[in-house]
Amino acid sequence: MDKFITIFFSFSFGNRYEQEKLLKQSCSLYVGNLSFYTTEEQVHELFSKSGDVKRIVIGLDKVKKTACGFCFVEYYTRADAEHAMRFINGTRLDDRIIRTDWDAGFKEGRQFGRGKSGGQVSDKAHNEITMITIIITSIFQEHVFFVTSKKKHN
């Protein structure tokens, strides 16, 4: 076929369901839109308001190894993390409105930005990747190989 065609066959059926299961039990949050100057201590102070924080991992630019605007916050209990999603998500830290999301769990390496220049993948690219992943996975479930062009980076 065409050289522009890439066939995805590495997706296993179960991948997305596994992911969803992990998210429902998770005590970890991804926190985005931090200022590059926001410190671990500031994050700790804010997120402690919804419960005892087990660990904070500040996201780093892969190349420069400096903070690049996101972090992971892990709680001891799910309930505490839920309170953070309810009452800290969408409020301000360091004058910026921060965004929290469920995270499947910190693994070594995930603290490095995956964007092209070493920082975070931008929201738009992030959404595109997610959308294409969903399309691929759901169509694969119908046992059809979907043909797509390479995903665009910002």
Partner: protein, 797 residues
């Protein structure tokens, strides 16, 4: 029943809604639920026509969906109390159309009431009783039978040997229904009602009120007395009675349907005996009514109803109910609060702010997590940017003015709220308005409050920011620059003991020395406590601890994560150095000395040391009460550390208890399985015997673990209370002998911190009352200290 009526993507714990296959009955049931839940909300048609329409739909569906409809209606009665009269009207209309259904509904409600009382769901039971009483207004229930139920409730006050909180609740449920139903009951049965109220009055006069001082937010009577909740409600009912039960605030949709409803046949409530008291009944604790505003505070617009008006009670009840229903979803909660029916006749923003702070400051603890209230107030400011922030500023100003008589626990919460709130609004505040605090002793409540607020603001930002946001005149209150204090640095005196050793240790760490290698290096550190090194230097050596820990913390000072890694890497060394109680105490002292300008670091590192079992909880308590910490004894962060430590201890006990319970359940399952499978091959029996043996061993071990943990927990509280008693007694004796007034700023702080221990951990402390009374809170104790204990006991009498 689904509580979520709006799809809310940002909602935390939601399960993704499963797409059902199209199946008519289930779809219809969902639709019914949705129709019923949404009636009364904003609509293009009037409430009356919506109710009329809905009654028609439900009547038509009764043949096929009766039990579902019954269940939904019972649920809304219990869970949506802010829409009480909407649903009683609906039930009234249904009863008028279908008498049998009305009867079945009443029966279902009575069943539900019994269930809630058995399950200790007392606030829901109040809503159910109120619902039943309003059904009298809707001609569903006959007034005399309602009076009879109330008489049975009030007769609980004649029971003997019951906790006061039990009879309190039954009186409360009657009084709190009267705003809805007083008029009707008095019209039908005035003699009986008078007798009822006289009984209640007699009870209220003789009941104990020892608990009140412990629950008041302010100790001052002015400008608003903090009344005990039953006293306040009684005054409100008295006033209502004097006004001949004329009540104009409650929305009563059933009035529009009077011609239809008065044709309906009424049902009699079956005789209802309150379930007997049992030892596992947990009645609601008494509370004090929080008031901060009156009619003089809202400058323009509608007047705030008086503190003893029944309108005030109803408004506050309804606002509390809205928060209770919607607290998890802050945007919905804010919207619901602001669309309170009848809002044009009251200064709604003031009521909302008062109710929210009332909950936040509630003692022993707020109904919901503190941070929820911050988030809710921010949402309210967003929705009403032209009016609510001003009310909030006014409230803050008022609370600042009254700090001198505010309970320390409440001041803590105010500090947390205010600093967090400011951090969402660029820390904008008219600090100059509070310049009066600058002339006061820095330990007085007002300057102390400002100082602690600035501390917390700095934690959410950074030092220079704080310097920038306050006027220069406030410099004495600005927190210290949070840098570490390394004693073995370049400026150190060359004669400082351990200086050279610190360099050696530092180099060893940088060269990735192992724990054993570090311990070998440290062997050379002399012990200032001993003249001769006879035990090979393995005993408590404070200099070793200082040299090692100071150096380690200095190398890892970049961030808390660096410090955590350092503590983890050299866990073995630290454990060895702190083998004794003195070692544990000293490590905390060294930590404090190093990070004394950065209380947040002290907090997180103490937390880590406890969790990794380098120090135990009792060591933290002893450290906090030690003479070295006297200087910081009244600082907020110290108490945050202590309460966090107590909570860790409590969670630890709970965790092991849970493991034990789970093992016991497993063993029981094994037994049952064995009985079922008996008669099988020998092999299987032998295996299950082995398993059982292992389980029994495990249970024995866990039992020991639980006992040892509980003993540690009890010991922790004993240490804390003992230290408080020593400190306070010392102060009281000193004041007495020198003829000085005991009520210094320090004393107020200290005694309220003692109270705070009781209040914040009352459930656990209840278990150890016997020991506490026998060992510590005896009759010989100074009555000032004993009073705190007695007030605590009175909370559950």
């Amino acid at each position: 029943m689904s509580r979520r009526r709006h799809s809310d993507e940002s909602d935390a714990g939601s399960q993704p809604h499963k797409r059902r296959r199209t199946s008519e009955p289930i779809e219809i049931e969902d639709r019914l639920e949705s129709l019923i839940c949404r009636v009364g909300e904003k609509s293009t048609s009037s409430l009356e026509s919506n109710l009329e329409g809905l009654a028609g739909v439900l009547e038509a569906d009764l043949p096929n969906y009766k039990s579902k409809i019954l269940r939904i209606l019972c649920a809304v009665a219990r869970l949506l109390p802010e829409k009480l009269t909407v649903y009683t009207t609906l039930v009234g209309l249904l009863n008028a159309r279908n008498y049998n259904f009305g009867g079945e509904f009443v029966e279902a409600m009575i069943r539900q009431l019994k269930e809630t009382l058995k399950s200790n769901l007392y606030s829901e039971a109040v809503y159910l009783v109120r619902f039943l009483s309003d059904l009298v207004n809707c001609h569903v229930i006959a007034a005399p039978s309602m009076v009879a139920m109330f008489e049975n409730f009030v007769s609980v006050t004649q029971e003997e040997d019951i906790p006061q909180v039990r009879s309190d609740w039954y009186v409360y449920v009657v009084l709190s229904s009267l705003p809805w139903i007083g008029k009707e009951l008095y019209e039908k049965k005035d003699v009986e009602m008078d007798r009822l109220l006289n009984q209640i009055e007699g009870y209220l006069k003789r009941r104990q009120k020892t608990h009140v001082p412990m629950l008041q937010v302010w100790t001052a009577e002015k400008p608003h007395p903090q009344e005990e909740y039953l006293d306040c409600l009684w005054a409100q009912v008295q006033k209502l009675k004097k006004d001949r039960w004329q009540e104009r605030h409650i929305l009563r949709p059933y009035i529009a349907f009077d011609s239809v409803l008065c044709e309906a046949l009424q049902h009699n409530l079956p005789p209802f005996t309150p379930p007997a008291h049992s030892d596992d009944a947990v009645y609601p604790m008494p509370h004090v009514v929080f008031r901060m505003f009156d009619y003089t505070d809202a400058p323009e617009g509608p007047v705030m109803p008086g503190s003893h008006s029944v309108e005030r009670f109803v408004i506050e009840e309804n606002l509390h109910c809205i928060i209770k229903s919607h607290w998890r979803e802050r945007k919905t909660c804010a919207a619901q609060l602001l669309s309170y029916p009848g809002k044009n006749k009251i200064p709604l923003n003031y009521h909302i702010v008062e109710v929210i702070f009332g909950e936040l400051f509630q003692l022993p603890s707020p109904p919901h997590i503190d941070v929820m209230y911050t988030a809710l107030l921010i949402e309210l400011c967003k929705l009403q940017p032209g009016s609510l922030p001003q009310v909030l500023a006014q409230a803050t100003e008022m609370m600042y003015m009254r700090l001198d008589t505010m309970n320390t626990t409440c001041i803590d919460r105010l500090i947390n709220w205010f600093s967090h709130h400011l951090s969402n609004f660029q820390f904008r505040w008219s600090w100059d308005d509070w310049a009066d605090c600058l002339t006061q002793d820095i330990e007085k409540p007002k300057p102390k409050f400002v100082k602690e607020v600035l501390d917390k603001c700095m934690r959410l930002s950074y030092h220079q920011r704080i310097v920038d946001i306050v006027p220069p005149s406030f410099s004495a209150l600005i927190p210290a620059d949070p840098v570490c204090s390394y004693k073995y640095g370049e400026e150190a005196d060359s004669s400082l003991p351990g200086l050279a050793m610190a360099t050696t240790v530092g180099n060893a760490i940088k060269n990735r020395a192992s724990n054993e290698e570090i311990l070998i290096v440290l062997k050379d550190v002399p012990n200032p406590n001993q003249d001769d090194d006879d035990d090979g230097g393995d005993g408590f050596n404070p200099l070793k601890i200082e040299v090692f820990l100071q150096t380690l913390l200095h190398l890892a000072a970049k961030s808390s994560s660096h410090s955590f890694s350092a503590l983890a890497k050299f866990h073995e060394v630290l454990k060895t150095l702190t083998d004794s109680d003195e070692g544990k105490l000293h490590i905390l002292r060294v930590l404090y000395e190093f990070w004394r300008n950065h209380p947040q670091m002290i907090s997180v590192l103490v937390d880590k040391l406890v969790r990794t079992q380098i120090v135990d909880c009792a060591a933290v308590a002893n450290w906090i009460f030690s003479p070295e910490m006297a200087h910081d004894f009244t600082r907020f962060y110290v108490w945050e550390i202590l309460h966090s430590t107590i909570r860790k201890m409590n969670k630890h006990v709970q965790k092991i208890q849970k493991e034990l319970d789970e093992a016991k359940v497993k063993l029981e399952k094994q037994h049952n399985k064995k009985q079922r499978d008996s008669g099988d091959e020998e092999d299987m029996e032998k295996n299950s015997e082995d398993e059982e043996g292992q389980l029994e061993e495990q249970i024995e071990r866990l039992q020991e673990k639980v006992e040892s943990a509980q003993s540690e927990q009890k010991n922790l509280f004993l240490v804390i209370f003992q230290r408080f008693i020593m400190l306070l007694t010392e102060h009281l004796v000193r004041c007495e002998t020198s003829g000085v007034d005991i009520n210094t700023t320090w004393y107020k702080n200290c005694i309220e911190r003692l109270q705070q221990i009781f209040l914040m951990h009352h459930v656990i402390i209840q278990q150890y009352m016997g020991t506490l009374e026998n060992l510590l809170f005896t009759a010989e104790l100074d009555h000032h200290i004993l009073a705190v204990y007695q007030q605590f006991c009175a909370l559950q009498l």
